[in-house]
Structure formats: C-alpha cells, structure tokens
C-alpha cells in the first residue's frame, strides 16, 4: 500500500471505531445497567487511541470525538469536548514520555480517563441539582465496569495504529 494513503486510512478507521463505539453504547448498551451503572465506552476509546498517537494527534482526536459525542445527544452538554481533549492530551503525553504502550497501561489510562470524564460529569450534575452524593457509588461502579471494554477496544486501536507509524527522527 502506498505510504501516502496509510495515514488517511488509519484515521478513517479510527473514525469508524468511534462510530462503532457510539452506536454500541447507545443502541445496544443504552438500557443495560451493570449493578445500577451504565458503561462509558468513549473515555476508554480516547485513552486507547491517544496512547498510540501521542499528545497532539490524540488531543485532536479527542476534540473531534468529544464534539461528535456532544452532537449525538450525550449528557453533559459541551463538557465531553473539554474532558475528552484533556484526557487524550495527558494520556498521549504520558505514553510518549514515561509509559510503554501495553495492555496494562491501557487499563490504567482507561481508568483514569473514565474517572476524570465521568467524575466531572457527576460534579456538573450535582451542581445543577440533577444528582446528589448518592450517585457516587454509581459513578465508581460505572468507571470500573467500563474497563470491561478495554480488552476489545485496545487491540482494535493497536491494530489500526500499525497501519501507519510516523518515523521518529
């Protein structure tokens, strides 16, 4: 395959991955609760992709995914735009600077991203009076349960990243 096509193909596949996660989360898992909490696949996806793409490219991916997730009618208003972008940048920077791209790292980063984005969402809901402290248990369970998606999403993100690897000078 020509080198110049690999990059657009990789990002297209990342887009397809986002579409798949968005549709599965709303259409298949939308009314499914695990011990009273719903799963959050988006932060796991953002973490797995930005691990392989770095702070800057991962940040742009997080920004675009956050905007599309907001437009798809997700809760929290425009908050996902900021939380996904920040999560992606931080995770990408950590993996570029300190950590290696392995499954254990993916689990840790997914947990951090889910905890951050869902935590801010809960804080916003409490501030608006639409939730209270009793939802903290739901938040913890939802964050932990979302890691169940990591064994599926991480290999997919890793496989897509293999299509194109920038040459590091």
């Amino acid at each position: 395959m020509r080198e110049r096509y690999k990059k657009p193909i990789m990002w297209t596949l990342y887009g397809v991955l986002f579409l798949l996660c968005a549709v599965v989360q709303t259409s298949m898992l939308g009314d499914v609760r695990l011990f009273g909490a719903k799963l959050a696949l988006m932060p796991v996806l953002i973490a797995c992709v930005s691990m392989h793409q770095g702070a800057e490219r991962g940040g742009i991916y997080g920004l675009v995914c956050g905007f599309c997730w907001y437009c798809s009618g997700a809760d929290g208003g425009a908050l996902p735009i900021v939380t996904f972008t920040v999560s992606a940048i931080v995770i990408g920077w950590l993996c570029e600077s300190f950590l290696t791209c392995r499954f254990a790292t993916a689990l840790l980063m997914s947990l951090g991203a889910a905890a951050f984005s869902q935590g801010l969402l809960l804080a916003l809901k409490c501030y608006l009076g639409q939730a209270n402290g009793s939802f903290f248990r739901v938040y913890l369970i939802g964050t932990a349960a979302s890691l169940l998606a990591c064994p599926l999403i991480y290999p997919a993100a890793w496989g897509v990243s293999k299509i194109y690897r920038e040459q590091k000078i």
Binding site: V24, G73, A131
Partner: protein
C-alpha cells in the same frame, strides 16, 4: 524520553476545545431549534443505530425463543391489556361522577379517542448517562413529528415528550427524567399537580407528583392521568399513587407515583401527532 507537555500545539488544541465548548453551549442556548451540527451528526448516526438496534432485537428474540419466554411474554401482555381496559372503564365512571357533582356543563367527556392520529416508531437508542432518561426513535420531521408531541404506548400510557427533532430522528424525554414536568390529576378525586421524575436518597429514580393541596385526600393505587394541554391530550395514564407525604416546605403535599409503563421493556412507541383539543 520525556517530552515537553506545554507545546504550542497542545495549547492551541486546548484553546480550540474550550472555545468550541463555549460556542456550542451558547448556540444551543440561543437557538430554539435543533442546531444544524447536532442534526447532521444525529442524521448520520440514525441509520446505524436503527440497524444495530434491529440486530439486537432479533438476537434477543432468538434468545428468548430458545427459553420459551416469548409465549409467556405474549400471555402477560394480553393480560396487562385486559386489566388496563378495565381500569380505564373505572376511571371513566369516576370522571362522570365528579363532573356531575360539580355541575360543569362545559366539560367534554372523552372515552374513545377516535380523534387521535398516531405515528409509530421503533426505539433505536437510549441515553448513555446515569442522570438522564431519554430515548431516540428512527422517525423525525419527515414523518410529521415536531417538538412537544406526546409519546405513548399502545395502551395509552404516557412515555414522554419529544424534546428534539431531526430529519429522520427524534429524541423523547421520558417521564422519568427530572427535566420534564407534566400537569396531571388524580382521576378519582380530581386533585391536580405536576408529575416529575426525581431520585431518592439511594439513587433510584421515581415519579413524583408535586404541588398537591394540603387538604387532598389520597389513597394508594389512585390513578394519575394527564390534565391535557396544547402539547398532549387529557386522560392519558401516567401511573398509580404509592405513597403520600408533605414536601420540603411543609405546605404542599406530594405523592410518589409508580409509572404505568415499564420503560425498560419498550421497543415500539406511538406519537400522538393530532388530537381534538376541544
């Protein structure tokens, strides 16, 4: 090798994210219709959601069939329909009695809903948040739907109100969502109030009927119906009273209401697009 975190690009990306978040928030607040970017994304997502939801429904049917649940579900649905029909007869009789006692000659009684026009739609997605209760259906403005229309089950039980509409999709905010308030009355006594979804201290969701008069005499299993407005007809069943108490102010009463329809079992819903408001 440790990389510098605050590069120019990172700052730019963060700034763009912040500006974009502020802009979309302002646009959503100012514009009364669904913003075009939301409409575009939802329109693209709608066919994918419909496909995945259809596959999911089919897979669930096969699974249930293997364990003979389908036959039991049909039997249960038939019995529920029979019970609801009998309850509607009782509500109608109580409405007649109340109106006769209060001598309201201008009230028009409606037992049969021949004036209703329905559009049926399948549910293709549910809101993925723990704090909202919304569903998305695969029909929109092209099928004649618009914001504010009421969604019901085949048995006339209220599900919610359409809050957003696109070309081929619509979002229904269900009665369990705390942002939706529906004016309602207790069918046996006529006391009016406002029904709203709320949460208990243990995090579970319930329906609550607020602003009831302090002197209201209520009993469990009293049925709660809509009072009607320009958005939805009167007499649609919301649920049954399960508990009564004084609200936080100590002045007005409130009642918890068990919803008549099980939102978790919904597959197909019906939107009332037209009715005689007379």
């Amino acid at each position: 090798m440790k990389k510098k975190f605050w590069t120019g690009r990172v700052k730019t990306i963060l700034l763009i994210a912040l500006v974009l978040a502020i802009v979309v928030t302002v646009v959503s607040a100012v514009v009364s219709e669904t913003p075009f970017f939301t409409n575009a994304v939802q329109t693209v997502l709608s066919p994918f959601r419909s496909t995945v939801a259809a596959i999911d429904r089919q897979a669930e049917r096969y699974y249930n069939y293997l364990f003979n649940y389908e036959r039991l579900q049909a039997e249960n649905a038939a019995l529920e329909k029979q019970i609801l029909g009998m309850q509607e007869d009782i509500r109608t009789a109580e409405t007649f009695q109340r109106e006769n006692e209060r001598l309201r000659l201008l009230l028009k009684l409606s037992e049969e809903h021949e004036d209703y026009r329905f559009v049926s739609a399948y549910i293709v997605s549910w809101d993925s948040s723990d704090y909202k209760s919304e569903i998305t259906i695969a029909k929109g403005a092209s099928a004649g739907l618009s914001e504010g229309m009421c969604a019901v089950t085949e048995n006339g039980q209220v599900i919610g109100i359409i809050s957003q509409v696109g070309a081929n999709w619509a979002t229904v905010t269900t009665i369990m969502d705390s942002s939706l308030e529906i004016s309602a009355s207790v069918s046996s006594s006529g006391y009016t109030g406002v029904v709203q979804g709320t949460y208990l201290v243990d995090g579970s969701h319930v329906l609550r009927m607020n602003y009831l008069p302090t002197e209201a005499v209520l009993k469990n299993s009293d049925q709660v119906v809509t009072t009607g407005s320009t958005l939805y007809p009167r007499g649609l069943l919301l649920g049954q009273l399960t508990d009564v108490g004084l609200d936080e102010t100590g002045v007005a009463k409130y009642a918890t209401v068990e919803p008549s329809c099980d939102l978790s079992q919904l597959e197909q819903i019906f939107i009332i697009t037209q009715y005689d408001n007379g």
